[in-house]
Symmetry: C2
């Protein structure tokens, strides 16, 4: 019996409620062998498109108040968490397996002095004209940047996760054999100031949150599930090569050679390395399609210490 | 040490994120004595205005998909649950008290053959013209009714809660001293069909969900917090009288005399009676303002068996 943190990418989720339910049937099937074997499991999911959709609905709607980003993140945890636990419940029911599965609304602490707040990079929400963007900067204090010729968008910071507020509840449930869904979307970002936790406009990378989760709960392995079977070098050239087993120091060399794409494979590689460095335990980056083999370390890129 | 279910009315929540955070500071203060004394506590909150707001945002927004009602309910659990746990965390931090507080995304099972589905009564979402309403009935199968001269609205069913899917997780956390927020908005309504749980368009009354929760977790008391200090008879007449201590059979007589308003005090009285009948333990209907006295059964209407 092992303890796993599974990081589930946005490709495993859908564009609307029905699409998401359909895709999550596949996720439940992929995770079922691990659940059946009785391992301790925490699932951390992404929420990029979903939190954007929720924020956009409140921005475009005339009759509803604007919804701040932490609250949109909290809504996305309810929305996606419901579908994940429901899909797992239903897959287990087919096989008469019973394990409690539950989503915990999770706050993740970040540091207001994280350098990410000086250089917000994560584009969110609607597109605006240059004039509209200037007004938003003046009235709301938003940082706006031009987005690949498509218009101006707000960018917010992506600070590093420091701690998970609800970790005691996560550990208590894990210890009793419950499958836990937590820190969805990287967690609801909060800062601790004046002896209180306050929501802050930010997006925490879900792979970094997974690595922090894996460290906190003492996971035996961090498994990052994505759309590709392996981390690759010389990506999209005739020298393209799958990485099968690699050490942290080898990965550091490859990172220095810019093999991994920012905002895509790079944060996954960084998160995996952070966990392996902090704990000595392995991380796997693999495809959802081969999840079962990935858990046995027979598919995907295995990252080990050294 | 006792075990309580606390049902928190919509009046304790807000119209937007800032309003809700401000109001929940008061709730956290009101519940603090109980939390400090170490009692087992499950909080069940309402979500009427909030789930309506979320559904409306997706209906009015041009760029986002329509969001079904169970998913809107799940979002409201994340949104409101985040604010409740954050407010309690922050109030405890002021007094250096530490107890884990967490929101569980909760599915509540209802019966598709519940008579409520034949007579949907709960108005939700936007107002439409008669013509628009007829189109919605034809295309979406919605039941639409005229709402007090303000236009046509969709009405959905309010079936009785049968079971709480995540009850094992709730009990596990309670047993370890965690404060649990669950079945928010009465729970995400699901039906069990073809060996699987499916979301269904419905709204479960949060007081009935609280009574079911109290029964399931073996609560010593159900405390329904609302805007008024006491259940009253001859309400709004010169004979108006506060009920202080009353038996279930006395309440049944008063119900037969139509003392309690549908959609307002009646569901609270019915839920309280259901819990007292099922368990023999007392229920209290009291105001949030006098919550501390209500927990000591020194304020509010005490409903006992007999």
């Amino acid at each position: 019996m092992s303890r796993y943190v599974i990081s589930l990418g946005g490709n495993a989720l859908g564009k609307d409620a029905d699409g998401q339910k359909a895709l999550l049937k596949g996720v439940a099937k992929a995770l079922f062998p691990l659940i059946k074997e009785g391992h301790d499991i925490v699932i951390v999911h992404g929420n990029g498109p979903q939190v954007g959709m929720i924020n956009l609905a409140f921005t475009e709607s005339q009759s509803t108040p604007l919804m701040p980003f932490p609250e949109c993140g909290a809504m996305s945890q309810g929305y996606i968490g419901f579908h994940i636990q429901n899909a797992i419940d239903n897959h287990m029911a087919q096989s008469s397996l019973k394990r409690p599965v539950v989503t915990l609304v999770s706050q993740v602490i970040v540091d207001r002095h994280d350098p990410a707040f000086d250089h917000p990079t994560k584009p969110i929400g609607s597109f605006y004209t240059k004039d509209e963007a200037e007004i938003l900067t003046k009235t709301m204090g938003y940082v706006m940047t031009e987005d690949a010729g498509r218009g101006y968008r707000r960018v917010i910071a992506s600070p590093k996760p420091i701690d998970i507020v609800e970790k005691d509840s996560i550990l208590t449930l894990l210890d009793q054999g419950h499958v836990v869904i937590a820190a969805g979307g990287g967690g609801i970002p909060v800062v601790f100031e004046n002896h209180a936790l306050h929501g802050i406009d930010a997006v925490i990378d879900k792979d970094h949150a997974s690595a922090k989760m894996a460290e906190i709960i003492g996971a035996d392995a961090l498994v990052i599930l994505t759309a590709v079977d392996y981390v690759k070098i010389h990506y999209n050239t005739d020298q393209e090569t799958d990485l099968k087993r690699i050490t942290v120091s080898q990965l550091e060399d490859l990172m220095a050679e810019n093999h991994f794409k920012k905002g895509s494979m790079l944060p996954k590689v960084e998160a995996a390395m952070a966990f392996v460095k902090a704990t000595g335990h392995p991380a796997v980056i693999a495809s959802l399609a081969h999840a079962e083999d990935a858990f046995k370390q027979q598919s995907g890129t295995l990252i080990v210490s050294g």
